[in-house]
């Protein structure tokens, strides 16, 4: 909290992930799960029990059949659980080393390649933060080669030795949009800027490494001018795909959290098994696995598609057997108000008028929130403010609700 004019906050997470030695750990099982409320309707391309190569198509989205999702590893499809209406509950894969890797045909059209290889879903389109529609033209693409979430892997480490693939991926992305913006941590530029490509060097404090903060500041998203973001490692994956036709087998993932003896950094497949990743690192006692950082993660069994870190934490404590008088002294049905402090201001990076935005969110004032740039933000961008203020209801959830409402009105 110390510095008066610093922008952003540092959130300590012990133990830190060790980056000196990076082991490859492909877990024996991998799965993708979806909530029924996600309404992820799919058309399966493989049957239960089928063998698939790494990178081979698994299913298409029912509403956007151009978008294909591919297998993260060579495996047998152990379970394909669909709810009525072809809504995906989960798809579980058991590893079969012998199946090899699927080689994608490269039709020459970048958009078709992205859609067919499963890399399309690595993009996130704002406003609203879904993957972009197949025909969508982005007004700008933010490539995130910086991540300031506590315990997040260093994107430079993920790109080490892959400079050529990254440059090829960036060149390909530049054909999709007018404005390509690379956000990188301080240090040597990862690629050379050109007239279409801007390189931004970000300060090292959270929340500046969140794409939402940069998009809000440099290129606000609007429904008619959508802004995409993508992780730098996925751009390198695109470069590799364009060169060889293969998708990379692993991504760089850190395992951190307060329930661990020591942190670790692994190369593992997407959808990896979190228990297998933390094996040998956890302290004895109860714990829970969170896919994502301690701030914005979600309790999960499997690594969620966009996450690059795993947090293992002790279970949430329950203290609901207090005397009513003591509970009344601490809180009531109506939540406690937010007090504007320097910490809260830094939690949103210092550029956004914090209190007006948070007031608009808590009163559900969509018009004011949009004016203040809420369409550039996603719930993850407010998780630091949630952490700092301990606010109830959570600000990130308020934003999620507001965005859902705006999206529904937009669609109507």
């Amino acid at each position: 909290m110390g510095n008066l004019w610093a922008r952003g906050l540092s959130v300590p997470v012990l133990p830190a992930p060790r980056e000196a030695e990076i082991a490859e750990r492909i877990t024996e099982e991998a799965a993708l799960t979806a909530e029924l409320s996600d309404d992820l309707r799919i058309d399966p391309l493989v049957a239960e029990g089928a063998m698939v190569a790494q990178g081979a198509p698994l299913f298409r989205l029912h509403r956007q059949p151009e978008i294909v999702v591919t297998a993260p590893m060579a495996a047998r499809v152990a379970r394909l659980d669909l709810a009525p209406g072809r809504r995906l509950r989960d798809i579980t894969l058991f590893r079969e080393k012998g199946e090899g890797r699927h080689r994608h045909a490269l039709p020459g059209d970048l958009r078709a390649t992205l859609l067919a290889s499963g890399l399309w879903t690595a993009f996130r389109s704002r406003p609203f933060g879904r993957h972009p529609a197949p025909g969508e033209i982005p007004a700008a693409i933010f490539v995130m080669a910086a991540d300031t979430r506590p315990g997040a892997p260093d994107p430079r480490l993920a790109l080490a030795g892959r400079a050529e693939a990254f440059a090829r991926g960036m060149a390909a992305l530049a054909t999709l949009t007018e404005r390509l913006i690379l956000c990188q941590s301080p240090g040597d530029p990862l690629v050379d800027p050109s007239d279409r490509l801007t390189v931004l060097t970000l300060p090292g404090l959270h929340p500046h490494g969140l794409p939402g903060m940069q998009i809000h500041r440099h290129f606000p998203a609007r429904p008619e001018a959508r802004t995409w973001d993508i992780a730098a490692e996925e751009v390198a994956a695109l470069g590799t795909l364009l060169e060889t036709g293969h998708l990379p087998e692993t991504r760089l993932v850190t395992v951190t959290g307060t329930a661990l003896r020591e942190g670790a950094t692994f190369r593992c497949q997407p959808w990896a098994d979190l228990r297998a990743l933390s094996r040998g690192l956890v302290r004895p006692g109860p714990h829970r696995h969170v896919s994502g950082s301690v701030l914005d993660g979600r309790e999960a069994r499997w690594l969620r598609p966009r996450d690059r870190q795993v947090s293992v934490m002790p279970p949430a404590s329950r203290d609901d057997d207090r005397h009513w008088f003591l509970s009344a002294l601490r809180g009531a049905r109506r939540p406690l108000p937010l007090i504007p402090t320097a910490a809260l201001e830094q939690a949103l990076g210092g550029d956004i008028p914090t209190m007006p935005l948070l007031r608009a969110l808590s009163t559900g004032d969509a018009e004011a929130a949009i004016r203040l740039g809420a369409l550039s933000l996603l719930p993850e961008d407010l998780t630091l403010a949630d952490y700092v203020t301990c606010s109830e209801p959570r600000l990130s959830r308020l934003l999620a609700g507001l965005l859902a409402r705006i999206e529904a009105e937009e669609a109507a």
């Binding site: 994502g292 947090s311 009344a328 601490r330 108000p337 504007p340 402090t341 203020t389 301990c390």
Partner: protein, 258 residues
């Protein structure tokens, strides 16, 4: 997932910690009388907080202690018990609790109480603050800014304006303890002051300007009285300053991004 500790009560505790130098200096200077005054205001404000907790399920706040401290230091001397009870209850209930407790209020309850006393009992003499208090206000302001519970912009804005005014010839020396104490206790309250960056600068500058105006032109007022009036006017203008700062921000953004 992980939760922090900066909820409302933590901020209230930090605010108290920042004001500790002022409170201790004042108690040392005032002795038992001062302590009794403080206890009286603590009991009255605390009682109202508990009443609202029981009747309206509204959790009490440690910020009530800040209010009591401000009242004990700045309230007029020799007011009768009824007058003190009446005005304190008015300030605490109408300015704070009726709005939903600390954090939802618009004006600082201590400012409102003091204004009420000033208007209601104009004959009561305002206290003379001991001169060492303004030295104690400096560590309080520093602590508040470093802990992040007071706005450094607001404090700097006020300080710079006052320094500029005294360089231009305004004589602030008599009122200095009252000016600084009102600044850290009433004006820099994070809830009742402006909440945007530019708004806070303006908030501080406005307080300095009101003080300078009153010192120059309101000759028969006691130092505490004119400082409390300046604090009240500044608090009333804070939402306006925020709105102006917000409009400027939106305009700048529109120019940059279309």
């Amino acid at each position: 997932m992980m939760r922090g500790i900066w909820d409302r009560e933590t901020v209230a505790v930090l605010l108290l910690a920042a004001l500790l130098p002022v409170g201790v200096t004042w108690l040392l200077a005032g002795g038992t009388d001062a302590l009794l005054r403080l206890v009286f205001f603590l009991v009255v404000a605390g009682a109202w907080h508990v009443v609202w907790m029981l009747a309206r399920a509204q959790p009490p706040s440690l910020a009530g202690i800040v209010t009591a401290l401000a009242l004990a230091m700045l309230a007029p001397q020799d007011l009768g018990l009824v007058a003190l009870l009446l005005s304190t209850s008015f300030g605490v209930v109408i300015a704070e609790l009726a709005f939903g407790g600390w954090g939802r209020n618009v004006l600082n309850p201590a400012t409102v109480t003091l204004a009420f006393m000033g208007f209601g009992y104009p004959a009561a003499p305002w206290p003379d603050l001991p001169v060492q208090l303004w030295w104690a206000a400096i560590p309080a302001a520093l602590l508040g800014a470093i802990l992040g519970v007071m706005s450094a912009r607001l404090l700097l804005g006020a300080a710079l304006t006052l320094i500029a005014a005294s360089l231009l010839g305004a004589d602030l020396s008599d009122a200095l303890p009252a000016i600084t104490i009102t600044l850290v206790l009433l004006v820099a309250d994070p809830v009742a002051s402006a909440s945007t960056a530019l708004g806070r600068w303006l908030n501080g500058v406005l307080y300095g300007a009101f003080i300078t105006l009153s010192v120059e032109n309101w000759h028969d007022a006691a130092p505490v009285q004119l400082c409390v009036s300046a604090a009240l006017l500044t608090s009333l203008a804070a939402p306006l300053l925020d709105e102006a700062a917000l409009l400027l921000w939106l305009q700048r953004r529109k120019r940059r991004h279309g």
